[in-house]
């Protein structure tokens, strides 16, 4: 399960931001997570809980913003929702595409009291 490694990366980023900005522990952080990525939200949450357990960061609420997949079809030029990696273009049925969205994985912001 790679989610723990991912949560660990998030934990380190939040810690860096707190110390670089000399601010108190945020009450929440928001992560943008594309739905084409193989990241299980619950495992990622659990990983963050484990990583922050026993530290000042354990009170942080983790908000996950799900980003829907979207692609640009190279065959017909239209764009279309890509709920799965195997979703064809809804206009022409082609799989020839550029992925426009759905692979985001960003720490968007933190909320301070």
């Amino acid at each position: 399960m790679h989610e723990y490694a991912l949560s660990r990366n998030l934990f380190d980023l939040v810690e860096q931001e707190i110390s670089a900005r000399q601010v108190a522990t945020p009450r929440a952080v928001t992560v943008k997570l594309g739905n084409l990525l193989a990241v299980n939200h619950e495992a990622f949450r659990l990983g963050f809980e484990l990583a922050s357990h026993g530290t000042a960061l354990q009170q942080i609420k983790l908000n996950i913003e799900n980003i829907a997949g979207r692609a640009h079809c190279r065959a017909c030029g239209e764009s279309y929702p890509m709920s799965e990696w195997y979703s064809p273009c809804e206009h022409c049925g082609s799989f020839d595409r550029d992925v426009l969205a759905g692979e985001e994985f960003h720490l968007v912001n933190m909320e301070l009291e």
């Binding site: 790679h2 490694a5 991912l6 193989a38 020839d96 912001n109 933190m110």
Partner: protein
Amino acid sequence: MCGTCGCDERKPESHAGKPAYVKIDLNRRVLERNVNYAEQNRRALQGGNRICINILSSPGSGKTSLLEKTLELSAEKNHIGVIEGDQYTDNDAQRLKKYGVEALQINTGKNCHLDAHSIHHALEDTRLQTCSLIFVENVGNLICPAMFDLGETKRVALLSVTEGEDKPLKYPEVFAHADLLLISKMDLLPYVPFDLDICIENALKINSCLKIIKLSTLNGEGLNEWLGWLDQLQVPVCA
């Protein structure tokens, strides 16, 4: 819930016009550290005219066997190096050292993938300094390694005919970001109900640009094509 800021306070008037918290925009990639190391690796490889191939598959699809065969068939081996990723043991590195090449073993312990940081150190290792073609055998796992860019030149996925033709649909990320798919253990095709055409169709649904080679290390099918694919990567990249 409060409509002003999302806090648990139900009466917006209690805020007296100012929000109870501030939002600080960060917009940093969660895998920033890995992305940075991957970029460094890519630059170092390009600068040294070196090529690095990241090989991904489930355990047992034939990654080490393919490397053994590749080394066996390579007339010139001095320039080849291997980085072996496994959770435990240095068995695979030992298997490859027999062919007279440098093979570094990275044990990831509880981790299920290699990351760009571990590759960064391996590339700096003096034993790999003279190698211009470096194979990375990633930890056998069809999910976890896919998200970790190592800074590799090309990514190769292996899928053996005993694993089922639906795997590209079930574990799409590995296939979505691969440059080449090797369908391995083709010698076993007569013995398993594996629909090769459907497998290829599935893989192309995930990644229509995927190049596909069918091969067997046992009967030699596809090995020339694989060596040819490697050769065309090694065209000198001088400007």
